[in-house]
Symmetry: C2
Amino acid sequence: MDLLLRGALLPGRTALTDLLLSDGLVAAEGADLPSGAPELDVGGRLVLPAFVDAHCHLDKTLWGGPWVPNTAGPHLQDKIDYTRRRRAEFAVPSADRIEALLRHVASLGTAHVRTHTDISPEFGLDGFHAVRAAADRVADLVTVEQVAFPQYGMLTNPGTAELMAEALRTGAAQVVGGIDPAGLERDPVRHLDVVFGLAAEHGVPVDLHLHDRGSLGAYEYELIIERTLSTGMSGRVTIGHGYALGDVSGPRQAELVSGLAEAGISVVTCAAHSDPVLPILAMAEAGANLAAGNDGIRDLWSPYGDGDMLARAHRIAERAELYADPEIELALTAATHGGARALGLPAHGTAVGVAADLVIVEARTVAEAVMSRPSSRLVLRAGVVVSR
Amino acid sequence: MDLLLRGALLPGRTALTDLLLSDGLVAAEGADLPSGAPELDVGGRLVLPAFVDAHCHLDKTLWGGPWVPNTAGPHLQDKIDYTRRRRAEFAVPSADRIEALLRHVASLGTAHVRTHTDISPEFGLDGFHAVRAAADRVADLVTVEQVAFPQYGMLTNPGTAELMAEALRTGAAQVVGGIDPAGLERDPVRHLDVVFGLAAEHGVPVDLHLHDRGSLGAYEYELIIERTLSTGMSGRVTIGHGYALGDVSGPRQAELVSGLAEAGISVVTCAAHSDPVLPILAMAEAGANLAAGNDGIRDLWSPYGDGDMLARAHRIAERAELYADPEIELALTAATHGGARALGLPAHGTAVGVAADLVIVEARTVAEAVMSRPSSRLVLRAGVVVSR
């Protein structure tokens, strides 16, 4: 099934071009490609790579249901306790709600999602089954990868590590997670040893939540960098949030950025609330990979989140006070190529030979698209129009 | 011209009601009001007060024009120099662009705007004339109040104070502005004496930009509080941005909040970038008024800004990490009642007797409306539907 896109504007160009999509790939690109396939004139609109949400929490979502006032206390532990307590009351997880959310994010242009699914002995692998059931229903729209995420602790929540091993052994989870090895788990070395041990045993990537700030968080960055280098896991380790990188001093930050680049570790930012902003420009310069995610989307944990990765790129740029076009483009790169790199996906973009997962919007430049966040989008997945 | 709104949901209620709008006011409210006027069934949607943008910069906008990459440097003075230099190149100010922007914000539900218009000898009162021309064309949609804003300095830009006096004397400006009395102007006492002197001479309110942070900004807060109390200007003084209030220590912050409440000074936040977040909860508790504004909207200064005060309320809530419904409501209050209070507008809201300036959206609660930011809005101005 071929499709010839006429009058397309590619990022960084000013002249329009045509794109031939064939067998799910971008098969050819050039001005005035010969006819032959069904044609779609996109009228000079900008063609962006599909978005990658490298960090979300589909299993907890309340998407599509009635408004639920959040009554959790202000601290991390309050939110954890609250979410745990009200899980049954709100029938979390719900495959139907997760499916509704996945259809929503796909319609906004997201083609790939990595989601952190809660794991704990009290509810076992329920979340994984619900997310997988939903993902199977929308497999032609979006790919979904699940992280075994010990939201309620691993060392501090007995039985969780064994369940994580089960989730990885059975394939329910494809990535091993972790959470604040020091701040929450109280034993950073042992926490990381278990996580990296599971990764080695099951041959899976690592994706750790790290909220710990300042010198404590920076120390944990070092532990993760050391383990990544010593285990040969370069390119397969991701740190989520990683606030410490945004709140240590300049020289210390530069050390960590350099360590991340050397070890091939990705950091995923959601740029939420007033959390420390990561050093986007320094990371780009050093070649340290930045990805982007929505975090929770209207869920038990938080009333925030709209699922839109173009809005998330805007948020990242806005929080980092990026004003120049090339800097604003870095925010979209995080939401596209950066996410693809973090997830270990094949080449991503608009070049010939890559998957034709595209989002087409009314804008003359990438920076304008990030600032305007057009709600009208033509979304293609594997060369097929899936939303307009 | 009467209008009877059927099936309206008022903030804080669960039962639907009817609203009779007459002569521009909310004339009656109750279940099953008798027929007689033209009716509009709003289907259980939520009725919010119209939005007030208490801080923007209409004169500099590029709204509706082609994308303009921003090439300013990163510092405040870079942005000032850049904006000044490129003003002529981009035909700023443009009454047509300002009108386009005002129509846009009105369609989103904004009924009142206070805008800071640049004033400097090199271009005199051009900005005031352009903004007034645009405002006159949309007078049935939105009110526009102009602040004589010395963006390029007052003490440090000779001739500016005299022009400010002229703008106030001729009525071109209705409010006297100021900017960083210490950080930019280098002489906080004399700067404030001139500003408060102009206010006294022309009988106008004061609205000062204050970006200065930490102990310096806190000291300037004190100077402003002292002058407000000694001149009897309570209720007529506003501080824009006021970052220092968000970055001094708790006890110092509490002192300033209490001083603001005592002096009847409003603070306007835009919650932009990673600027310090104001203590919303403490201000509400102390009765210190918080208003909200868009700041620049796609202008020479900044590529950011979309003009939407409901999105701005969301940003304020998100930056302040407000999760509970009553806290999220405070963010909308800043964008409605708080703005009305800062601007000295008559009673604002949905109660009987007040102006029927309303925004009706699909939501069950104010918190849901702030989180969802519905793009579909029914907007009424003085009891007349102006956008749907």
